[in-house]
């Protein structure tokens, strides 16, 4: 009897060990930093490499948000070879799992952790309070602590630059946006896109269709089809897949890529991609951490810091438009140009910014209106 018990216990233990090993193997990809060949004497004498962990909300193959973070991580690893050792955990749901993964990353000896989704905010706060010697970087959040920084990208700058091209390329004078969820960030992007288009063609009008989801390729293409049926001939999207671009190609109109360079998906329809580049920020934080000068704060990087760019502009875009994009980019870089400046009215005629006023951070974080030129009302907005 006892023998049997012992055996089944052993069996259960072995099984759970196998299951655990499988789980760990599935959930994690580690990358050795230093080359495995005989280390040089100096390297052996030097301090251990800094361990950096990355936590992603979707798989690296999503072709958008996480894909861009992963590209930056790989570039970072190559740049700091020998000095750092990075690892990643992908597809971590926002919630209790995130906390568990963060604790595990701390336990593995990571001294710097990048948590790349808004919903990781509370788990990061919780784990950071316990692991005081680990620095945490949280993307798109707003809560900081002594060892927690936040960072984000000014995606609306990319939307504005795309808008310049849209305004010049639209033949019907009507452009469209497939939008995800009506929150200030998305409304900021939609409005910036339209402001960019109006800077080239003041008569341009725009329509917005809300999918009310971040990711649903079939719905995204249905929404795009509707906009095209209604006469829009240049589309932008604030959803997470390349479906809008692909639909535009099938229907013979033009569209933009977002977050990543999406030109490969639909080369005929692709006008340009508003790409986020996280590498400059990751480089700075890694340098700071290595030098011991890391401190808490909140960063919102854009064109100026090299974190946003409009890439892969199509060959048939006239030089005149390319020049306008370059001029706007230069203005954003040296701070002489502001996208959100008065006089600015919403589409009901209400004055939002007076002549000469610039939208500050509080203004930008609270956008819940459509600028003049967009048909319709913002879902759920107060009238």
């Amino acid at each position: 009897m006892t023998n049997l018990h012992k055996r089944s216990l052993l069996k259960a233990a072995a099984l759970s060990a196998v299951a655990l090993a499988a789980l760990v193997a599935c959930g994690k990809k580690e990358e050795a930093a230093a080359p495995a060949a005989a280390p040089a004497p100096e390297a052996a004498a030097a301090a251990e490499p800094l361990k950096i962990g990355f936590m992603y909300v979707s798989p690296v193959g999503d072709g958008g948000w996480t894909f861009q973070h992963e590209k930056a991580r790989q570039a970072l690893q190559a740049e700091f070879a020998g000095k750092i050792e990075t690892s990643l955990v992908e597809s971590v749901p926002e919630g209790p799992d995130a906390e568990r993964v963060l604790r595990d990353m701390v336990g593995q000896g990571n001294k710097l952790v990048f948590a790349t989704s808004f919903g990781y905010m509370e788990p990061v706060q919780k784990v950071a309070a316990e692991a005081k010697d680990v620095k945490f970087e949280h993307a798109t959040g707003y809560k900081t602590a002594d060892n927690v920084r936040t960072y984000d990208a000014r995606t609306y700058e990319g939307a504005y630059l795309a808008g310049i091209i849209a305004g010049g390329m639209s033949k019907s004078g009507q452009i469209g946006v497939v939008a995800s969820v009506p929150i200030p960030e998305v409304l900021r992007n939609i409005n910036s896109y339209v402001l960019g288009a109006q800077s080239v063609n003041p008569k341009i009008t725009a329509r917005v269709v809300w999918v009310n989801e971040w990711f649903s390729p079939p719905k995204e293409s249905e929404a795009a089809t509707t906009l095209i049926n209604g006469g829009a001939d240049v589309l932008y999207q604030n959803t997470n897949s390349p479906a809008v671009l692909k639909t535009a190609q099938e229907r013979g109109v033009r569209a933009f890529g977002k977050d990543s360079d999406m030109s490969a998906y639909a080369p005929k329809a692709h006008l340009a991609s508003a790409e986020i580049n996280w590498l400059p920020y990751y480089r700075k934080i890694t340098q700071d951490t290595l030098a011991g000068t890391w401190s808490t704060g909140q960063d919102w990087w854009g064109v100026k810091e090299g974190a946003m760019d409009l890439v892969s502009i199509a060959d048939d875009v006239p030089q005149e438009l390319k020049d306008k994009v370059a001029a706007a980019k230069a203005g954003l870089k040296d701070g002489s140009f502001h996208i959100w400046k008065g006089p600015l009215k919403d589409n009901t005629g209400k004055q939002l910014l007076a002549e000469g006023a610039n939208g500050d951070h509080a203004f930008l974080s609270g956008i819940n209106f459509y600028v003049a030129g967009i048909d319709g009302t913002v879902p759920g907005a107060n009238k």
Binding site: V209, E213, K219, S221, E222, T225, S241, P242, K268
Partner: protein, 306 residues
Amino acid sequence: MESYALLFGSTLSAGTVLALAALGLLINEKAGIINLGAEGMMLCAAIAGFAAVVHTGNTWAGFGAGMAVGALLAGLFGLLVIWLNTNQQATGLALTLFGAGFSAFAGLGYVQAKLPELPKYAIPGLADIPLLGPALFRHHPLVYIVVLLAIAMVWFLYRSRAGLVLRAVGESPESAHALGYNVRGIRLAAVMFGGAMCGLAGAFISTVYTPLWVEGMVAGRGWIALALTTFATWRPARILLGAYLFGGVTMLQFHLQASGVQLASQLLSMLPYVATIVVLVLISRNPAWIRANMPASLGKPFHPGS
């Protein structure tokens, strides 16, 4: 007026995805087996079909690959629930979870892969009729095939001997067994047919409807197809109608938004579900309507000889 013709046209495409999967699941359920793995099978078929088209350049090869993968997964599911008598609901859910993970893994290398451009479909002569042309005659052949399929299925279920046997297996497997029919074999065939149809729907999404591959791109259409079989009270013609209704209401919702109708988009998003509830309430006024068509042994295990 023309935009309504286009709206009608896109409704036909949107409904085709749902109708393909739901017609397959109908046969599956008529044999007494409920397969909640539809979403997982569609995802695996979507990547299989996409990969096949990337390598061969032929959409029909993609459909074939999708159907094969769907049938294979359904066969696996069938072996588990029919021979090992595992719980149908739990096994189906496991298949959905497996399919979501496996398709993501298998699709890693295809995330940015390019598909050859689709030809423009148009029925010569008819496609140029104003209004009717864009609405009815410029679709992928599968959009028409699914209608023929629904008609064939009505004939099969209610006019053919094989259909009668299939329904007997779903109503009373014990009697069918006693009469000498191979209940398990018939059930497996029905489940595999359902899998193949879900596979076709999945491949249609990733190669024609939204021609690209990204993880999780079926986005719940497998579940809607499953709901459709109940919504349609297990009748092929009603499945077709329900699929167009669902597809149509979603398209109408976007259409109203784009034409500037002052209605909250969240409210519009609810419309398909409101439509479902309304129809279910109407049907439920006469409970016999549901019971008359629901396979009596749906979801119940069958042990021959007991």
